[in-house]
């Protein structure tokens, strides 16, 4: 039985999330070094974390006639959304906040990045950032509906919107086994809302960094950390939704949660380097013509199974 832990445990969520994020960025640095033909040394491994002091010490720059309030508010929204989304994710047998509508909460927090990134793009009064900002909105129009249907599939399978309830409903069969399409769509959407890898379009190289182009110092740290926290939150959420939560032999539940989260993270970090960035206009077409129908069929199949068997197959 997954229980809600005391209120102070909310403070543990950002710490735990940051620890998993550190694993992800370290793995990413390792793969980047390999791709560039460099030897992997301890210096390579600590490089991403050494960015933190560099950015903290760097000058915070500004542009001409920026909308500072929107700009900074937008930047802060992104990591805040990542942490808040993670509040409902059970870790082993405990969850910081067990909500009856946890799935909706997660979805709502992730949608906060729409506003955050748009404001972060608008704020500096610069074309590059602005284009980056609306690229994210365009991308959102493409990824959000398939993501919602993927979440609905898992919720329908467990007949619950409570994340802990969904995790416990997979006692006999993990949802990933009979909802593979929903799982794949979900993972693609994790890239999309953390604007990383094939969905790094809003921060694209062709825009000299897009929403990141005008950011230096602490501002840059906040947004960079935000996107990686979102990726980690997305990976952690995949565990209760599709991978049976903390269930597993021998090890305690929290260990299984950790192992599965790291496994999904490594998969995401590895996968993000395999593909070029997908242009949002092309992805929108794919999303609306292929992925939405696919996700609907998946949700429908789940609904039919639940109606006929009264539970999992």
């Amino acid at each position: 039985m997954i229980t809600s832990s005391p209120l102070w445990s909310v403070l543990v969520v950002p710490v735990l999330l940051a620890a998993f994020t550190a694993v992800a960025v370290t793995a990413d640095a390792l793969l980047a070094a390999r791709a560039a033909g460099r030897r992997v040394s301890p210096r390579v491994l600590v490089a991403p974390l050494a960015e933190v002091p560099r950015l903290l010490a760097a000058q915070r720059r500004t542009t001409l006639a920026p909308d500072s309030l929107l700009w900074r508010l937008g930047l802060a929204t992104v990591p805040a959304a990542g942490v808040l989304a993670a509040v409902v994710i059970p870790f082993g047998q405990v969850t910081a906040s067990r909500m009856s509508v946890g799935v909706v909460w997660f979805n709502a927090m992730e949608v906060l990045t729409w506003a955050g990134l748009w404001m972060a793009g608008w704020g500096p009064n610069s074309v590059l950032s602005l284009v980056g900002g609306y690229r994210f909105v365009a991308q959102g129009l493409a990824y959000e509906l398939p993501l919602m249907f993927a979440l609905i599939s898992a919720a329908a399978g467990a007949q619950s919107l409570d994340v802990a309830g969904i995790a416990s409903a997979q006692g006999r069969l993990w949802f990933v086994v009979w909802m593979p399409a929903a799982f794949a769509v979900y993972l693609a959407s994790v890239y999309a809302f953390s604007f990383l890898g094939p969905f790094g379009y809003p921060a694209g190289r062709d825009l000299a960094g897009g929403v990141l182009a005008e950011l230096s110092g602490p501002d840059r740290l906040v947004l960079q950390a935000g996107r990686w926290l979102l990726l980690t939150a997305g990976a952690a959420m995949a565990v209760p939704l599709f991978l049976g939560g903390g269930a597993g032999p021998l090890l305690p539940a929290w260990a299984w949660s950790a192992v599965k989260t790291v496994a999904v993270l490594i998969l995401l970090v590895w996968g993000r380097r395999r593909l070029p960035v997908i242009r949002a206009d092309r992805y929108a077409e794919l999303a609306w013509v292929v992925l939405i129908p696919l996700a609907i069929v998946q949700a429908l199949a789940v609904a039919l199974v639940v109606l006929t068997t009264g539970g999992t197959p």
């Binding site: 791709a35 002091p53 094939p198």
Partner: protein, 410 residues
Amino acid sequence: MGVTGRLVRAGAARPHVLVAAMPGGAAVRLAAEEQLRRRGWPAVLSPADADVLLVAGAPAADIAASVKTTWAAVPAPRVRAIVTSPGEVAAALDAAQAELATGAPQWLPAGDSAVLPGGDGGAASGPGGSHGAHGMASHHDMGEMDTGMPGGLPMAERGEDRDGLKLDRLHVPLGPVLPDWPAGLVVRLVLQGDVVQHAEASAVGLVEGAGSFWTEPWRRAAAGEPVTTGVAARRRAAAHLDSLGRFLAVAGWDDAAAAARALRDDTAGSRPVSSLEPAVRRLAARVTRSRVLAWSTRGAGTLRADVAAADGATSPDWRAGGDVTTRYHRWCRELADLTAVFEDGGPLDPTALEPPRGRLDGAQAPSASLLAVLPRLLEGAEFAAARLIVASLDPDLDELPARVGAGHDH
């Protein structure tokens, strides 16, 4: 010194470098990119993320203002270095790191990009524009005007877009100081949303009599020096790998871009053909196989072979026609073929093995025809497609005589 000083010193362990490639500075840029790769120092995309501004090549008078604007957009602590010979790159980077680590460098308010009054209003402003921090970050390229508008800037004017809607029109100069971008190229765009309504291409900063790094073996052969086919094939393969690396970077495929650049450095260096050849073939196959890349680039920047013939184009890209996908597929195909003749010691036959961007004995340089066709291809394209189109043509402005560049600018 205190906490900040300690943080600055820790940050200097791995400085971020913005390489500003100048026309005539190709060899320095290659040396810089190789050094950064070996050291694991990030080559950054915008001045906002840079600690070091490395100017690769001597800046000509008409590009110096753009370099200055870029420098003004780099936040402190920061160091600037101008390097004019490939051999000096390593020393310059070491010196820059040492200066950063002192914790002293330049806590100037100049990190605000807004401090260049008037600046380079008329000339190509490149990163920095007339306001906005850098790169193409200008709402308007008319320089500063005291109109009582926010920040002294005029509002974006409006115009009909392709669907007949009234939309803001933004004037955005791209280049000349922009990563993954041909040195010296300036493209002035009029954007509505992120659709290019109008484009003008010009060249700045061209150096008299420098000659292109990429066509050097062919120029030497034409001057009567003995040049082997193998040497020319290596240079051409390195040129294609350089273009491919740039294109893949713009396409957002960082790993493949890094692989292409590492192989480019190996091809220009002394890596034995026995290990180089399979590596180049593997990369070419991997890039050609990617369906996502082909899907993202299909139909962008289509050139028509019959129009090319009428224009007297000398570039093979131009002559063959096709879209962005066709062009990078051609690089990959040629790369696989070129590796076979790396060790050919016979004399270079310039008709059998052309320079990377086409023959030099035509009425105009191959890159001149690429520059001429560029605006036509860009108009109507979406911003991302526009960058891919430029990268897929990758004109080498060092092929142009200096005065042609000046003539193109307005």
